[in-house]
């Protein structure tokens, strides 16, 4: 079966995100003063084959842990969809 894994990687809570702060300040300059916080991160779409959905989730989890995120500073979340 073909799957698409949709992965979001964000800096962990408590890890300073200078891009997020800069973007928040820029939004304030655009008069979106209601914005209290911006978190930046990365988004990946990974197309791959697996025998089942649970197998696909296991594979994607390994990809996140071994390469797509750095566990020292980042956290990840994902969803798996069939193509």
């Amino acid at each position: 079966m073909n799957f698409i894994g949709k992965v979001v990687v964000l800096l962990k809570e408590g890890v300073f995100d200078p891009q997020g702060v800069t973007i928040k300040n820029a939004l304030h300059n655009l008069s979106f003063s209601q914005v209290s916080r911006v978190r930046t991160g990365k988004y990946f779409e990974v197309e791959f084959e697996a025998d089942s959905e649970s197998e696909a989730e296991n594979q994607l989890k390994s990809m996140c842990q071994e390469l797509l995120s750095n566990p020292v500073i980042e956290e990840y979340s994902f969803q798996v969809e069939t193509e």
Partner: protein, 236 residues
């Protein structure tokens, strides 16, 4: 003694390191292409600065998969001397050869200027020619040099004396202002537990001659040579 300087696609301090080692320090040095697995009998390996693989994904994240990194991992595990400078430090962290991570600078800016470092441990192969507490002037040039690790890990680095250099002012005081990038505990250079692998954000190869404004960086390389030669004499 023989040094190897690894060349990744996107390394841009490789030839500076090669020049500083071979011409300024005067030690045999060879370039090692990242696709090779042979370390050519080098006694110490330098991972130079630059932007390996265009900093794709995370700094150093892709370079760790280069074939030569398998050999460097084995070399390091056997006690071989490995020095990572700037992007080389980032690669060592991503490879798991050193603990922690480097975040974007607190200011959000790329910073390229001289900084002062205080020698926190002179009983390492990389600092054997320095006095404890000596203040060095060596430049930084990076966007992601903000050292981060969990508070438990930071504690253990300090307890194990793995912190080799901290950012300080010209008098050797470690202050909030003297910390250019937001690094926890002002960490600028760190070794592994065993002490044979060191990563540092400042560029010793850019401060190896008077004409560059400082020769303190030269002593980092000379320390490695002295340490290695003394070990060889003891071995014989």
């Amino acid at each position: 003694m023989k040094f190897g300087v690894v060349v990744f696609p996107g390394s841009n301090c490789d030839h500076d390191c090669y020049y500083a080692l071979s011409q300024v320090v005067g030690v045999e040095t060879t370039l090692l292409w990242h696709q090779e697995r042979d370390l050519k009998n080098c006694d110490a390996v330098v991972l130079p600065g630059g932007f390996s693989y265009g900093d794709y994904l995370r700094t150093g994240a892709i370079a760790r998969f280069s074939p030569i990194m398998d050999s460097i991992r084995q070399f390091a595990q056997a006690g071989g001397l490995v020095l990572g400078i700037c992007n080389g430090f980032q690669i060592l962290l991503e490879s798991g050869l050193l603990p922690g991570a480097l975040l974007p600078n607190r200011s959000g800016h790329f910073i390229c200027r001289f900084v002062y470092l205080r020698v926190e441990n002179n009983r390492t192969p990389f600092t054997s020619l320095f006095q404890l507490g000596e203040v060095l002037k060596i430049p930084i040039a990076h966007n992601q040099g903000n050292f981060f690790a969990s508070s438990t890990d930071i504690r253990s680095f300090l307890d194990n004396r793995q912190v080799v250099f901290r950012y300080c002012d010209s008098r050797g005081e470690v202050t909030e202002v003297s910390n250019p990038n937001g690094s926890l505990e002002s960490i600028a250079g760190l070794t592994n537990c065993e002490g044979n692998v060191m990563g540092m954000m400042p560029h010793p190869e850019r401060s190896a001659e008077e004409i560059l404004g400082s020769t303190d960086g030269k002593k980092v390389f000379q320390s490695i040579v002295k340490w290695w030669e003394e070990k060889e004499i003891a071995r014989k």
